[in-house]
């Protein structure tokens, strides 16, 4: 297991956002957390990145207990996140945003860095066209691509994607999910949080359903996609 989450509970004040969440992500796979608004998906990701304090439980990354590590150290270990919504730095250009993604790296003039930049521009040709444009002036889809590309610039082993399809046109959603699969095939492990369950389940190797802060179902993507309860609740399925 690259990432192991054991009995994770996180509070916002007195309110429990997630409780007793346990799951694992195998190296080289795509795992997904699906669930409705407010189920605790984003909280889970923020906790994995170190933005939220853990009340109970443990997070282990590649054998190291990272439960109380600072966000900075987690990025250095190889976990990076593409945040929810328009998570770019709006006043910076596309290129500056991408450079920020590599903030913890000290090899900005190296060949490896140029290759990584190339890789992002190949995955998202649109970003290359807009390299010098200010992020805040781009469309939602472009900003989403930028946030994802930026997360890759840290050369992560595990990339956390928070609702990459939110607010995008259907055609663009297809494209984004295809890119997620491609990123995974290039060797990066992906943990994907999504409301668009249909697409997420289709792409994911393992999947977990989060309801009011707890995992209620786990299985492979195909298993859950076939599960009648999941169908009814998240796939707008035939009841």
């Amino acid at each position: 297991m690259l990432l192991e989450v054991e009995g994770l509970s996180v509070n916002y004040g007195h309110i429990e956002a997630i409780r007793g969440v346990s799951f694992g992500v195998e190296e080289g796979t795509i795992a997904t957390l699906i669930g409705a608004n407010g189920a605790g998906k984003t909280t889970t990701l923020k906790t994995l990145s170190g933005l939220r304090k853990v009340r109970e439980g443990k997070v282990v990354f590649d054998g190291t207990d990272i439960t109380n590590l600072s966000p900075e150290k987690r990025v250095k270990l190889g976990i990076s996140q593409s945040p929810e919504g328009r998570g770019c730095f709006p006043g910076m250009t596309v290129r500056e945003n991408l450079d920020m993604g590599a903030y913890v790296r000290k090899d900005r003039r190296s060949k490896a860095y140029a290759e990584d930049l190339d890789r992002v521009f190949t995955l998202f040709p649109r970003l290359k066209e807009r390299e010098k444009q200010v992020a805040g002036s781009m469309s939602g889809g472009e900003q989403q691509m930028l946030a994802m590309g930026r997360a890759l610039m840290a050369r992560p082993r595990l990339v956390l994607l928070d609702e990459p399809s939110m607010g995008l046109a259907p055609k663009l959603i297809q494209q984004i999910f295809a890119i997620i699969t491609e990123i995974n095939q290039q060797g990066t492990t992906v943990l994907l949080v999504e409301q668009n369950a249909a697409q997420a389940l289709k792409r994911a190797h393992t999947a977990h359903v989060l309801e009011t802060g707890e995992i209620v179902r786990s299985g492979t993507g195909t298993e859950l996609a076939g599960d009648p309860a999941v169908k009814a609740a998240y796939l707008g399925g035939d009841v």
Binding site: L51, P71, E72, M92, Y103
Partner: protein, 365 residues
């Protein structure tokens, strides 16, 4: 526009321009250019005030403009610097000026860290309130503490050591004709109560040093950390920026520059009292930064010059001076909220926003 033209010049020409402008600025109080010179008050003294305002504004710009932390109590650091000089050169010890200034800067940095470490964990409005309180606390402590001279303050602060080498005559203008005025000379380099020009040169030199340090910092990793923190603190954390550490660093650097200008103020004045460090001064410092264009060092320099110079130039407005100044600030806030010379980034973002708007309008039509 000026920036592009300047960048287009060949390298030697650029150096020449920089050297010429710098010399001109140094010589300003000797030249007494008509229209610019102040009639109601000593021009050298005014220029010293302007230079120290520029220094303060550059320091505050690191905190407000770069790191995006609203500090309403910046005068506190200024006071710490000034009082450190006062008690170490006059009240409790008689250390020499070159020794005391680094101590004053250090004292300001320590006070910045002591204030920042607990408070930089709160965001936005709360930070403004806490810093506001800090500024007032420093002043009120000074009023009540006999050890700091209480309400009467500390006097007979000595001048920095002088080396009187030679005299430089001023220029007098008679009917538009420049004349060498041998009856009015400045001794190079002697600090005195009457002639403020050596103090101006000292302050200006500090400004230039800080400007260089500022431009190095802005383009470094530290500068990028500040920028990302200002734009979105959570996302900056996700990039691996240790935001708290960088905010504290901004606070410490700001405090250092504030302390330095406070030390300069105390030395020139020869006297400090709690009345010199009122809340209004914090607001004026902030006004300089905001009017000029927070985040752009040249904008901030311009803002500080205007805020410090205009009220002196238009002294004949008398009672209307402050009123006019306030009115000018309001007009500016409405018409140019981003400041007179905003950072290039802001300009760029605005242009693009306008472009997109026009495109969208076109699409609808």
């Amino acid at each position: 526009m000026i920036r592009e033209r300047f960048a287009a010049l060949p390298r030697p020409a650029r150096y020449a321009v920089v050297v010429l402008v710098t010399l001109l600025v140094y010589a300003l109080p000797l030249l007494n250019p008509p229209l610019i010179t102040t009639t109601g008050s000593d021009f050298g003294g005014v220029l010293f005030t302007v230079a120290s305002f520029v220094l303060v504004a550059l320091g505050l710009n690191v905190v407000v403009g770069y790191a995006g932390l609203l500090d309403l109590g910046y005068v506190g650091f200024y006071a710490v610097g000034a009082y450190t000089v006062a008690i170490l050169t006059s009240l409790h010890a008689h250390l020499s000026w070159p020794v005391v200034v680094p101590i004053a800067v250090l004292a300001a940095v320590i006070s910045g860290i002591v204030l920042g470490a607990p408070t930089l964990r709160v965001r936005g409005d709360y930070l403004a309130i806490v810093t506001l309180g800090f500024g007032e606390i420093i002043r009120i402590v000074a009023v009540n503490l006999d050890w700091l001279g209480a309400a009467a303050g500390v006097s007979s602060i000595p001048e920095p050591p002088s080396v009187g080498l030679f005299d430089i005559p001023h220029v007098a203008w008679e009917g538009g004709q420049p004349l060498i005025d041998l009856g009015n000379q400045t001794r190079f380099f002697e600090f005195g109560v009457v002639d403020a020009i050596p103090f101006y040169w000292l302050a200006l030199t500090m400004v230039l040093v800080i400007l260089c340090a500022d431009s190095l910092l802005k383009t470094s990793r530290v500068g990028r950390a500040w920028e990302s923190t200002r734009e979105d603190e959570d996302v900056a954390e996700l990039m691996g920026v240790a935001t708290f550490r960088y905010k504290l660093l901004a606070f410490a650097i700001g405090a250092a520059v504030g302390g330095l200008s406070g030390a300069l103020f105390a030395t020139r004045q020869g006297f400090v009292s709690p009345d010199s460090f009122k809340l209004l001064l914090s607001i004026l410092f902030l006004a300089a930064v905001v009017v000029g264009g927070q985040g752009n060092r040249w904008g901030v320099v311009l803002g500080a010059i205007l805020v410090a110079y205009l009220p002196e130039r238009f002294r004949f407005f008398d009672d209307w001076r402050v009123f006019t100044f306030g009115l000018a600030l309001m007009v500016l806030a409405v018409w140019r909220p981003q400041g007179l010379l905003p950072p290039r980034r802001t300009v760029r973002a605005r242009q693009l926003a306008a472009e997109i708007d026009s495109l969208e309008e076109g699409a609808e039509a």
